[in-house]
């Protein structure tokens, strides 16, 4: 479960996977994201 969420965010960092992040944020499941 957390490895999946880490994987989704890793996809976003690489320029893909935004759709899943939007879905998780919209559902109130993903509360914060940050990238240094």
């Amino acid at each position: 479960m957390p490895d999946t969420i880490a994987g989704i965010w890793a996809d976003v960092v690489r320029g893909r996977g935004d759709m899943f992040v939007e879905q998780l944020v919209g559902a109130g499941r993903l509360l914060s994201m940050s990238r240094d």
């Binding site: 957390p2 989704i8 499941r29 994201m33």
Partner: protein, 165 residues
């Protein structure tokens, strides 16, 4: 609801007698990472914290077991779009919340990035969610010991409750 002492009172809506069902709860924090290459010698060292209230742990475990009942363990990067959609749909239905952070670092500095993200992002989020019981994906013994030291040291100097790792 968060009370002055920092303890959360959870009242489940829809329960026959919600107030009678109210319980003081804490949570479990589950931590894992991903470190895909992003070009050159750099990786996106990514850590995720998933918080599950103690009250919801059994339901979440059952839902995961039912959905991920397969011979081959799920590995996000290797899955196709259909499976990814199904997993994300499931995550949206579960009683969980998540925080995720990433740092772009040289591949040789992943351990340093991990400690930094734990200290400055993940543990603070866990503490605020009263997820003082932590479950971290197993790695090598030395790496697990390093994680345990970092977590214990962090909670020792914080005001948040630590329940174990």
């Amino acid at each position: 609801m968060i009370c002055a002492a920092g303890v959360r009172l959870v009242v489940r809506a829809g329960h026959a007698n919600s107030w009678a069902y109210a319980r003081w709860v804490a949570a479990l924090g589950v931590i894992d990472e991903s470190s895909p290459e992003v070009g050159g010698d750099r990786v996106a060292y990514t850590m995720a914290l998933v918080v599950v209230d103690d009250l919801d742990q059994d339901d979440v475990r059952q839902a995961l077991t039912a959905t991920l009942n397969r011979k081959r363990p799920l590995h996000w990067e290797g899955e196709g779009t259909v499976v990814k959609r199904r997993v994300v749909d499931m995550l949206c239905e579960l009683a969980i919340t998540a925080h995720v952070c990433a740092a772009i670092v040289h591949r040789s500095d992943q351990q340093g990035a991990r400690m930094l993200l734990l200290r400055e992002q993940i543990l603070e989020r866990a503490g605020r969610a009263d997820a003082g019981q932590l479950l971290i994906e197993q790695r090598s013994r030395a790496e697990d010991d390093s994680d345990r030291r970092e977590v214990r040291d962090w909670f020792r100097t914080s005001s948040h409750r630590f329940r174990g790792i």
